[in-house]
Subunit: 112 residues, 2 copies
């Protein structure tokens, strides 16, 4: 995202449960409820598979875990990597009972 | 901070309890354990007192609340404000028993 100040107000229909596993599509790691080290491993694995950059995403209370993941990658495993971009936004999630909830989100892009 | 990718490894001796209130020194709002709206009010108050920019800081699990605070300020109270900078870092905190803990931190600077 070029403009980090831009707010996404698009309604996302992705199920919340999708956040609970480690996703590896398009060099994106969604941080869910597992321990931080699993997501750290996912990021490092993507870089080892020749990804030039990896984006770590999270929503709600998992935002702090996403920051932990990026900090652990940078401090412990890939000291030469740099933070390319950090953006925050508000997403509207449709929960299972159909109600609409606003939730904060973060995207942190790491570059090798 | 100019370089958002820079990691602060300075040992901070600030007591953790300092984070639990709303601080308003130097246009900084530390997000603690109170509800998000208290910190939203603190940010809006600083802007109304002619601050040109306000930095919202938080550590650990409170990082997600800091993002909530900024998003609420931007979406609900100050739609013309922009995010000037977001940086993440790792801080070393000395706890009461003298042990050293690493904790992630975030700083989000909002501009009127």
């Amino acid at each position: 995202m070029e403009e980090s100040a831009e707010i996404s107000t698009e309604t996302t229909t992705k199920d919340i449960t999708e956040l609970q596993g480690v996703k590896r599509d398009d060099n994106i790691v969604f941080v869910g409820k597992k321990g931080a080290m699993g997501y750290v491993l996912a990021v490092v694995t993507q870089f080892n598979n020749n990804a030039g950059q990896v984006t770590v995403k999270a929503r709600g209370k998992l935002i702090s875990r996403a920051v932990d993941v990026v900090e652990i990658v940078r401090n412990r495993f890939m000291p030469d990597s740099t933070i390319e971009d950090i953006s925050i936004s508000t997403e509207e999630l449709t929960s299972e009972d159909g109600s609409l909830n606003k939730v904060s989100a973060i995207e942190i892009t790491l570059k090798k």
